[in-house]
């Protein structure tokens, strides 16, 4: 089963200035969201394999959309995250089936590599609700400068029988990181 996509949203945010300090180069984050039909809305289905396959499809599609929107080579991606919001006729487990079994591998391919866990959130929701996509460094999950998040929100989704699936990718960390911890330079990117 492939995803039945109603719409796709891609947003790029650039921060040029914060607390009256210039951010050079600007930090840049992208989020790509797809609104899909929930094939299991309104019914309990034991085998969620079709949603796992949809997750794989969307990991590749949305990861590539983020990288393209940032205009960077895939290797220049620095952090990533994934989220899903399930419309009211579905169940939270549908989000889990999309996000966890198969979405990560094609997403990592879209950003060339990624040793670290892909941070995630999920929730049930309705049109207009905000979905906060968490962000963590793609090669070393403990790189503190890259813990962040990005909002995605659509006024008309997810309808009851839909799921909003989102992937976020950046080419940078927070604008003014100064809370210590392991740095990107120290991260070897092998164990994640």
């Amino acid at each position: 089963m492939s995803a039945k996509i109603r719409k796709i949203l891609v947003t790029v945010e650039e921060t040029h200035r914060e607390m009256d300090r210039a951010i050079l180069p600007p930090t840049r984050k992208a989020v790509a969201g797809a609104v899909i039909e929930n094939p299991f809305a309104g019914v309990f289905v034991e085998d969620l394999t079709p949603l796992m396959d949809i997750g794989a499809e969307l990991g590749a599609l949305l990861g590539a959309r983020c990288v393209a929107a940032l205009g960077i080579p895939p290797a220049a991606a620095e952090s990533y995250g994934k989220s899903a919001m399930v419309g009211e006729a579905g169940e939270l487990e549908h989000a889990a089936a999309i996000l966890h079994p198969k979405l990560g591998a094609p997403l990592r391919k879209a950003v060339e590599k990624g040793a670290a866990l892909v941070a995630s959130t999920k929730k049930m929701g309705s049109p207009g609700q905000v979905l906060d996509v968490p962000l963590g460094h793609k090669d070393a999950a403990y790189v503190r400068s890259h813990f962040d998040g990005m909002e995605v929100r659509l006024s008309d989704a997810p309808r009851a029988g839909e799921i909003l699936v989102a992937v976020a990718v950046t080419d940078s960390g927070r604008p003014l990181p100064r809370v210590g911890g392991p740095t990107q330079e120290e991260a070897r990117g092998k164990t994640g």
Binding site: L9, V10, V12, E14, V130
Partner: protein
């Protein structure tokens, strides 16, 4: 003259394939460009503000060019609109400064932009949503192209900021069937029909 101090930009592109009906051959694209800038008049009443329009011209041109590029070129743009959200230390009149620089930036880059650029504005807090109207670039009465795009920025506008918005679309509403003047029947001279 105050300079434009840009804190952040957001560029959003929405691709709409269907809304429950038969998917058209080409999806509808709607795009919004948002700039978060310092409001140089925040916190006090300033009588003479019109001079701040000129420094906004390059910002308008840059946002309009970005939207056109994201939508695949000026020839594909059929609808436009603009808006502003003024942070709570400002007044709605500050948002009105965007009318000329925002509108003429788009009209300067698009073919036959005879129609007025529809707009909306308000004072609001960070995360406030703004429904930015969209209508046909050549003839305002083309009913299929009346639409809107909702925008917001989680952390803007702060009290002393403004969010300035331009939006463009590549075609009619996805399942438009409410009649009225059709794009192929417009005259294209007076901006209305």
């Amino acid at each position: 003259m105050p300079e434009v101090r840009l804190r952040k930009t957001l560029i959003t592109v929405e691709e709409i394939y269907h809304e429950g009906g038969p998917p058209p051959a080409t999806p509808l694209f709607r795009a919004a460009a948002l700039a978060v800038i310092e409001n140089p008049f925040a916190g006090r009443y300033v009588a003479d503000i019109a001079h701040f329009m000129e420094p906004l011209n390059p910002l308008g041109a840059a946002l309009a060019a970005t939207l056109i590029a994201r939508l695949g070129g000026a020839a594909r743009v059929e609808g436009y609109g603009k808006g502003a959200i003024v942070g709570t230390a400002g007044e709605v009149e500050h948002g009105a400064l965007w009318h000329a620089p925002g509108g003429y930036a788009m009209r300067g880059l698009l073919p036959n932009p005879a129609a007025i650029v529809p707009s909306t504005k308000k004072v609001g807090a960070p995360g406030t949503t703004l429904d930015v109207p969209l209508s046909h670039i050549t003839a305002s009465y083309v009913r299929s192209h009346f639409d809107a795009m909702e925008v917001s920025v989680a952390d803007a506008p702060r009290a002393g900021e403004m969010v300035l918005v331009l939006v463009m679309s590549t075609g009619p509403r996805i399942h438009n069937r409410a009649g009225g003047l059709a794009a192929q029947d417009m005259i294209g001279k007076d901006g209305l029909r």
